[in-house]
């Protein structure tokens, strides 16, 4: 809902806002062109669904409780997975260790 209202905040005119909203909801407009590849659409859907699922699961739990109740090896493996993914994603910028101050 917030995303829909952002369109109206940001658009230069009502016409533009309306066009944007219609395309967001899947109703193409005259002369509209696809800009997102399947890969991008998929990643957005996966991340959004994943995020919502985690938020739902955590709605009445605290992270510390969840971790305390998990077996120690599971926490370790999850951390290992996160470290691994951070490393192989490589991130942007030329330096692996990126200081910014």
């Amino acid at each position: 809902l917030v995303n829909l209202t952002w369109v109206f905040f940001r658009a230069q005119s009502f016409g533009q806002a309306w066009t944007m909203t219609r395309t967001m909801l899947g109703f193409g407009v005259e002369g509209s062109v696809l800009v997102l590849s399947t890969y991008l659409v998929t990643t957005v859907i996966v991340v959004t669904v994943g995020m919502l699922a985690v938020h739902w699961f955590m709605r009445s739990r605290r992270l510390e409780e969840v971790v305390a109740k998990s077996p120690w090896w599971l926490t370790g493996l999850v951390w290992a997975g996160m470290i691994f993914l951070i490393v192989i994603t490589q991130g942007s910028g030329d330096a692996f260790i990126y200081f910014q101050f």
């Binding site: 062109v33 696809l34 800009v35 997102l36 590849s37 399947t38 890969y39 998929t42 971790v67 305390a68 120690w72 090896w73 926490t75 370790g76 493996l77 951390w79 290992a80 997975g81 470290i83 691994f84 993914l85 490393v87 192989i88 994603t89 490589q90 910028g93 030329d94 330096a95 692996f96 260790i97 990126y98 200081f99 910014q100 101050f101």
Partner: protein, 347 residues
């Protein structure tokens, strides 16, 4: 929760995962660890001209100049360990201006011309490298230095193997019909040294599937260039470029330096494209003529055309030593003819 156990488990399994990733890229895909050709690395080379070697031999140009020159052979022949400042996908002329504006430089500047790139507005792909040279912060400098030991040891630490890059290029993503042209990323095709010499990765030559990917990428890029500006605009821009070249060369000569131009080889489809888009008389001859400088075009010398360019645009790593040696000899002769005296060239 026993944190020490958790931490050790995390580190051990992360290391196993990273080790497996590294092994995959090295063994199954043949990658080797090499420098990343970062902006910081360019700045490091550039600083050699600024601080310690103002009379150096400096190479500028596009990736062809970077790949085709064998710096060790050059040093054998001339006694100078040249500074390699060529930048891939970039126009050499703004860099010529950049060097001309450096009042310390009074050495020999070798400018490699890749004709289509001369029409890029500005520097092109690696414009940030020049900006980085001027604006590099101490933390960026430090970060770059810390990155080097990783670059030389980890084969997976390169542009091709980033997780999301790998995911994006997989063939199993369905196409969306009607999607406009999506430029594939340029694959890693070189192994680079600390002094910025790049050697064409042998896989480009030896693996037909990979070779097809690379030549396909060049074709894709060139076939999908943005439309050129109207002829009057293009003509005016080119004339401005020629004037700039003349001014820059004069500046360098006034300080006791010298500028020479080289045209590294290209072949097949790429060469054909260049003939159409940036013909020799129009681009090469104009630039060399306006500079009043020695210009060595690969097509004029059998020794410089008799090399393999496996992906149409860069010399095979197996032929570059021979090519460089021939180039030095030819430059020497041409400079002697013109009465240009450069002790490092022996003229």
């Amino acid at each position: 929760m026993r944190w020490p156990r958790v931490a050790i488990l995390a580190v051990v399994f992360a290391a196993i995962g990273i080790g497996a990733w590294e092994a995959y890229w090295r063994v199954a895909q043949g990658y080797e660890a090499s420098y990343r050709n970062s902006d910081g690395q360019w700045a490091e080379a550039r600083r050699r001209v600024d601080r310690s070697e103002p009379n150096a031999t400096v190479f500028i140009g596009s990736s062809r100049t970077q790949f085709d020159i064998d710096l060790d052979v050059w040093e054998e022949e001339t006694g100078v360990h040249a500074v390699q400042l060529a930048l891939e996908g970039s126009n050499a002329i703004p860099i010529l201006t950049h060097i001309a504006d450096d009042e310390d430089f009074a050495g020999l500047l070798v400018v490699g011309i890749t004709p289509p790139l001369v029409f890029l507005p500005g520097v092109g792909l690696r414009a940030e490298a020049v900006e980085h040279y001027f604006d590099e912060t101490p933390s960026q400098w430090m970060g770059n230095k810390l990155s080097y030991p990783l670059e030389t040891r980890l084969a997976f630490y390169n542009i091709d193997t980033k997780l999301f890059t790998v995911l994006t290029r997989q063939a199993w993503w369905p196409d969306r019909p009607g999607l406009p042209f999506q430029q594939q990323e340029v694959r890693k095709i070189e192994n680079m040294r600390r002094d910025r010499q790049a050697d064409l990765w042998n896989r480009v030559e030896d693996d037909p599937a990979f070779n097809a990917i690379v030549t396909g990428t060049w074709q894709e890029i060139l076939e999908n260039l943005p439309p050129p500006p109207p002829p009057e605009v293009a003509q005016a821009a080119f004339e401005a470029l020629l004037e700039q070249v003349a001014v820059d060369v004069a500046k360098i000569r006034a300080r006791g330096g010298e500028v020479v131009f080289i045209r590294p080889p290209s072949s097949d489809w790429f060469r054909e494209f260049e003939r159409q888009a940036s013909p020799r008389e129009m681009v090469w001859e104009s630039i060399v003529g306006t500079a009043g400088a020695v210009g060595v075009h690969f097509e004029d010398y059998p020794a410089l055309s008799d090399v393999r360019t496996p992906e149409w645009s860069h010399i095979s790593s197996r032929d570059k030593a021979r090519w460089t040696r021939a180039l030095v000899g030819i430059l020497r002769d041409r400079m002697t003819e013109r009465g240009i005296h450069r002790p490092e060239m022996g003229t």
